[in-house]
């Protein structure tokens, strides 16, 4: 994996709108953003209803993922380009799920909606219709997904990267201030975790920082490239952004996203929790 395999520029995207075999999918934190204007031909995915099981607390199953992509008109050999608002948080979350279920060619639009809009590139309100397909997914690749027991086992053994804001890490607040308070029972962080907020990996226009800047950022914060890594945040979307950085851009081999994240961990009975900023 390298940057060229993972990211496309807004310039490339504009040239490739409507190209056969390339499907643009928009995933926004604000699920109404698509309706106000989107890339021509792009199809909307609603992360709250389409990337999560509607009943159980979990991401979609393989069968649900197959139904979703079939209904969106995506074929297994299509190049999928994901993009969204808020610095690609939820586009990165979708990217991680596409990788989990083995989609061969998936990319992120570097900078997402923000970069596209700041560039002054065109948006349309015409809703794209694609012919349904019969999509076959692969079995979930759990080498990139962490579950709660292995997170507890990772304390003191693996890199635990908490990508939330310093105030969430220290336990002062439970969720980012601009978001609905979907809360755990207890504040704080997993002992031995290092706090490297996702935002440090992005430029202000939403694009990822250069590989050199990213390598220095994590190195300076105590990330050990020789160890396996688990990234987490509150509900697994910001840590998907960091998972893309560590696994896809910097090429670290054993990196998992803990999508249960703090909403699960901070509600478990009996697990260790640490409060306060790390020295």
């Amino acid at each position: 994996m390298s940057r060229q395999d993972v990211l496309v520029t807004t310039e490339w995207a504009e040239k490739n709108l409507g190209t056969e075999g390339i499907v643009f999918l928009e995933v926004d934190e604000d699920t109404t953003a698509y309706d106000g204007g989107h890339l021509t031909g792009a199809v909307k995915i609603n992360w709250t209803t389409e990337l999560q099981d509607p009943v159980r607390r979990d991401i979609v199953t393989k069968e649900q993922f197959e139904q979703l992509l079939s209904s969106k008109g995506v074929s297994a050999d299509d190049t999928v380009v994901l993009y969204g608002g808020n610095n690609n948080w939820f586009a990165a979350y979708a990217y991680w799920q596409f990788k989990l279920y083995g989609h061969a060619d998936v990319k992120l639009l570097d900078g997402g909606r923000k970069k596209w809009e700041l560039d002054g590139r065109p948006l349309t309100t015409d809703v794209a219709e694609r012919t349904a397909t019969t999509y076959t997914a692969k079995d979930a690749d759990v080498s990139i997904r962490a579950f709660r027991d292995e997170v507890v086992d990772a304390i003191g053994n693996k890199n635990l990267v908490d990508v939330r804001s310093p105030d969430e890490f220290s336990g002062k607040i439970l969720a980012p201030a601009h978001l609905p308070q979907e809360q755990s029972q207890r504040p704080g962080h997993i002992p031995t975790a290092i706090n490297i907020p996702w935002s440090k990996a992005a430029n202000e226009d939403g694009t990822f920082r250069s590989d050199e800047e990213l390598a220095k950022l994590y190195g300076d914060e105590g990330f050990d490239g020789g160890k396996a890594t688990i990234a987490y945040c509150r509900i697994g979307e910001r840590s998907s952004h960091t998972w893309v950085v560590l696994h896809e851009l910097l090429g670290h081999g054993d990196v998992k996203n803990y999508d249960g994240s703090w909403t699960e961990y901070g509600s478990l009975i009996g697990v260790p929790i640490e409060l306060g900023a790390r020295a």
Binding site: K114, E117, S165, A177, P197
Partner: protein, 99 residues
């Protein structure tokens, strides 16, 4: 930068301004509101804290804490920023001129 509370900006029901520190304002270019600007809240070390998109009327709002903040706007009309000091809970206003 901290003017009198502006009641024109509707806060969510139940917002307690004796406890909440609300930073609000408008993005303008040549005196005209700029909608769709990306407004970033930076703490007193310049560290990113949150980001919202300004409304059609150019308005933005953050729920923060007392302290010194920078609000920075990125837009098609240009970028700009201003400092905002909230010495106590309540409604604190700032205008960001972009050029």
């Amino acid at each position: 930068m901290c003017g009198a509370p502006d009641q024109a900006v509707a806060l969510p029901p139940g917002t307690d301004l004796t406890k909440e520190t609300v930073l609000t304002g408008r993005v303008v270019a040549d005196g005209q509101p700029v909608g769709g600007a990306f407004v970033r809240l930076l703490d007193d070390t310049g560290e990113f804290t949150a980001e919202v998109v300004s409304s059609a009327s150019g308005d933005f709002r953050f729920f923060a804490a007392p302290g010194t903040w920078t609000v920075r706007a990125l837009s098609r009309s240009g970028n700009g920023q201003t400092e905002l000091t909230a010495d106590a809970p309540g409604l604190h206003r700032a205008e960001i001129a972009v050029a």
